[in-house]
């Protein structure tokens, strides 16, 4: 069985203060923060970023890629193949969507574990809720990704599952958020199912609760989750994101497991327990060679946004259209021709004089040599803002449009949209990194491309 050889998570930078959101609805008692995907972020873009983090430093070619979300940005056409192309996996990868339900996160994880060759699981979610609902306040947007392969850092020792068609929550296509049954009933029905699979998984692993260093418990119902933790009597660690970013649906178990792994040490037993459509439990064990990482700042950091900003970003309040033409939808053949550039931000470098070209060119701009180009991967290269402008006239999903002229480390100039910025804060000399983002939706086609965002002090 495959084990974990790499992991990473991604949390959008924006945070919404639940008390500010509650105040808008004349409610009280809300505490903590939730993470909010930017107006150009969705499950796919966050999944790409988490996957990039998980693949960092690994020399592995996953044979399958499993993407899970309860809120897929694209339907019929899959998201997993786009994700695989954006992180430049070999095209022999089997890229598959699992989706629709919260439990699909566990499905992707299990599918990747079960493969004989290297595999990838990317779990991402944007959590909507009806305005003023608990789901809205307590949900969070995030993603996590895990790379599996032989000689792992974390072994998956046992797994136990039970399925039960619990009518705890329901949502149809087009609904803003879910509706829920009385949470007290849900907890009473759900908790014994989780206890059952945990007992079974521990038994299969040949250990007891007292052997566990940490437990990852993830349930849509906060009440059920708290009861599971209390009854098991286990530690859930210091990095529980429920209060700082919220419950992130299909991604939640992944985000919490990634945080637990960041903080873990070698030779530790970790329990993973989830309760959705039944329950799943896994026992993991870190190996002797295991080294954690200090990536917890992704959960702790963030910039606070106003509730009105959240409503605009979510499309719950519609901005008046400007008298500008809508963005042209990308042409399918052009995207296919330019896939390395368009999907994976791969430019070209002149073999003769070294000049880098973005987008890739056939004729060198400096020495005019024809067809002597080599591909150069630039999505992981940082850049410096040479100059920039703020376009207050252009149509955009997040006006005003900020465009930077970027000089990449090691050479190459590119002019592109900047994101995760406050227009008035941008300055010449700013350091930026490339991220995969939504540019526009035209004719229902979601046009994604790479944008530059300031390198965060937390991440650098």
């Amino acid at each position: 069985m495959n084990g974990i050889i790499g992991w990473g998570s991604y949390v959008p930078r924006a945070r919404l203060d639940r008390s500010a959101l509650a105040a808008m609805f004349q409610l009280s008692g809300a505490r903590g923060m939730r993470s909010v995907a930017g107006p150009d972020e969705d499950s796919l873009t966050m999944g790409v970023e988490a996957t990039r983090a998980a693949l960092t430093g690994l020399d592995v070619s996953p044979e399958s890629c499993w993407f899970a979300t309860s809120h897929a940005p694209m339907l019929d056409r899959g998201n997993a193949a786009v994700l695989a192309a954006a992180v430049d996996l070999d095209d022999t990868v089997g890229a598959y969507d699992t989706g629709g339900s919260i439990r699909s996160g566990m499905a992707a994880f299990r599918a990747a574990v079960a493969q004989s060759g290297p595999a990838l699981a990317a779990l991402a979610d944007v959590r909507f809720g009806r305005p003023g609902s608990d789901d809205e306040a307590n949900g969070g947007d995030a993603a996590a990704a895990f790379v599996f392969g032989p000689n792992p850092l974390v072994e998956v020792v046992s797994h136990s599952t039970v399925s039960s068609p619990v009518m705890d929550r329901w949502r149809s296509e087009g609904d803003i958020g879910s509706s829920t049954w009385d949470d007290r009933w849900t907890a009473e029905h759900q908790v014994p199912l989780v206890e059952r699979v945990v007992t079974e998984a521990l038994k299969s692993a040949g250990i007891s609760e007292s052997d566990l260093s940490v437990a990852v418990v993830s349930c849509p119902s906060a009440r059920a989750e708290a009861q599971v933790i209390a009854r098991l009597g286990v530690s859930i660690g210091d990095t529980d994101p429920r209060s700082s970013i919220g419950y992130s649906g299909a991604a939640d178990v992944g985000v919490r497991l990634a945080a637990a792994l960041d903080a873990a040490g070698p030779n530790q037993w970790i329990l993973v327990a989830t309760g959705a459509d039944g329950a799943d439990a896994m026992v993991l064990k870190t190996t002797t060679d295991f080294v954690g990482s200090a990536n917890v700042s992704r959960i702790a950091g963030g910039n606070t946004i106003e509730p009105a900003t959240y409503l605009l970003w979510r499309g719950l309040v519609e901005r008046a259209a400007v008298r500008r033409p809508p963005s042209e939808a990308p042409a399918a053949p052009a995207v296919a021709r330019n896939e390395p550039w368009k999907l994976a931000f791969i430019g070209s470098a002149c073999a003769s004089c070294g000049t880098r070209h973005m987008p890739p060119q056939r004729v060198c701009l400096r020495c005019q040599v024809v067809d002597e180009m080599e591909p150069v991967v630039l999505r992981d290269t940082q850049a410096t803002v040479r100059t920039f402008t703020i376009d207050r006239l252009a149509a955009s999903i997040n006006p005003p449009v900020v465009v930077g002229v970027l000089d990449f480390d090691g050479g190459g100039r590119y002019r592109c949209q900047m994101t995760d910025v406050i227009a008035s804060d941008v300055a010449v000399g700013d350091r930026v990194e490339m991220v995969y983002r939504l540019v526009a939706v035209s004719n229902g086609i979601r046009n994604y491309f790479w944008k530059a965002r300031p390198v965060s002090e937390e991440d650098s």
Partner: protein
């Protein structure tokens, strides 16, 4: 070194509509007025005497039919040309070479644009389908890159930049205020201009040319035929077009303080006309002031100001109507707006009026050589046209 020959042709008739929000007039109406205006000014030459036509329009229709239908031309060769915002000049350039080659004796260059039937803010530039990776910037944003780059390179404060840009806008509006064909015929004080809110980078609404409707036309023949039409022709002394490789946005060596294509087109025009010191030999110029920083940078690219000295020269009034080298005496794109296909011809029309002494309150005394500069694209990827015209054949 270019080997392009001196274009031995002259303009013997011109017509130009007022540029405006012509809500009540179509492109056809504007074309009929400009074409028949040109015919009348050439001594009542008949439309049948024109052998061939070049029509410049960027987005008001396709093919020569745009011109032949309203004018009811009978099986004449009509070529529609497009070269972005230099479209009007491109019609003139091709028409000039057609008569210079001897293929035709008398031709007409016409430019038209009807933009005000669109409900869009600013110019909308049609594009072919793409992979969706290109940034969708508006024109003001494209040209706004010039301001901080210029300020940084020459150590100019943004306040001083603002002062110079407002001076350019105020100058062009003042010139337009005394031009009956201008769209905006009202002087605007520099303080009002400086106080307007920004729309792209450092640029505000007064830094931008307007969106207008208009048409203009010119009749062109070889030098030996000039006497048939007028005793007061305008001689074409140079024509040049430079199309860049469009690599500015991806080349670390481009610094957004110049249009290399404009420099190349100016140098080629000076070579053809035998101009060695444009700062003193050019009497007046119409340049492409699509945005105020464009005019600022062009003063250096045309060789009117030393590098880094345009700010000082602008603020000292060198390019004002009563300055040493009046620039945009008719009010420029700032006052006329920019009906794309017509602008290049409108620039030549001002030269035509000036050389004939018909410019009224804007009349510049003793003008010998005039320059028109017309560009399309954006900093980093430009098509740039320069003509030099004069009252003498050279």
């Amino acid at each position: 070194m270019s080997k392009t020959k001196f274009p031995t042709v002259a303009i013997v008739g011109m017509g130009c509509t007022r540029f405006s929000d012509h809500w009540d007039r179509s492109a056809d109406d504007l074309l009929i007025e400009a074409v028949h205006g040109a015919l009348e000014s050439a001594g009542g030459v008949s439309i049948d005497d024109i052998d061939a036509y070049w029509l410049g329009t960027a987005m008001s229709g396709q093919s020569g039919l745009v011109l032949s239908k309203p004018l009811k031309l009978q099986n004449k060769p009509v070529t529609r040309v497009e070269n972005m915002c230099a479209t009007g000049s491109e019609a003139v350039r091709n028409a000039c070479y057609a008569v210079a080659s001897g293929a035709y004796d008398t031709v007409m260059a016409v430019g038209v644009e009807k933009l005000k039937d669109s409900n869009m803010t600013g110019l909308v530039i049609p594009t072919a389908p793409t992979d969706g990776s290109e940034v969708d910037l508006t024109a003001p944003a494209m040209f706004s890159f010039l301001v901080p780059a210029y300020a940084e390179k020459y150590g100019v404060s943004l306040e001083t930049m603002r002062e110079a840009l407002s001076h350019i806008a105020a100058k062009n509006h003042a010139n337009g205020a005394i031009n009956e064909r201008a769209h905006f015929q009202r002087a605007v004080p520099a303080e009002t201009i400086s106080a307007a809110p920004t729309i792209a980078g450092e640029l505000n609404i007064f830094d931008c040319s307007g969106i207008s409707d208009g048409a203009a036309a010119a009749i062109i023949c070889r030098l030996e035929d000039v006497h048939k039409y007028t005793t007061n022709p305008m001689y074409v002394r140079a024509l040049s077009l430079a199309v860049g490789s469009g690599t500015g946005a991806t080349d670390t060596e481009y610094d957004y303080t110049t249009f290399p294509e404009a420099v190349a087109s100016a140098n080629e025009a000076y070579r053809q006309a035998g101009v060695t010191d444009p700062a003193t030999e050019i009497s007046m110029a119409e340049v492409h002031d699509c945005f105020t920083p464009t005019e600022l940078v062009l003063m250096e690219d045309m060789g009117f100001s030393e590098r880094g000295a345009a700010i000082t020269d602008v603020l000292s009034g060198r390019y004002d109507l009563d300055g040493a080298l009046p620039v945009n005496p008719d009010g420029g794109l700032k006052s006329f707006g920019h009906p794309i296909g017509a602008s290049g011809l409108r620039m030549l029309f001002e030269m035509w009026l000036q050389f004939r002494g018909e410019a009224g309150k804007r009349q510049i005394a003793d003008a010998k050589l005039g320059l028109t500069h017309n560009l399309g694209g954006q900093p980093g990827e430009v098509v740039s046209f320069v003509s030099i015209v004069g009252s003498e054949p050279g």
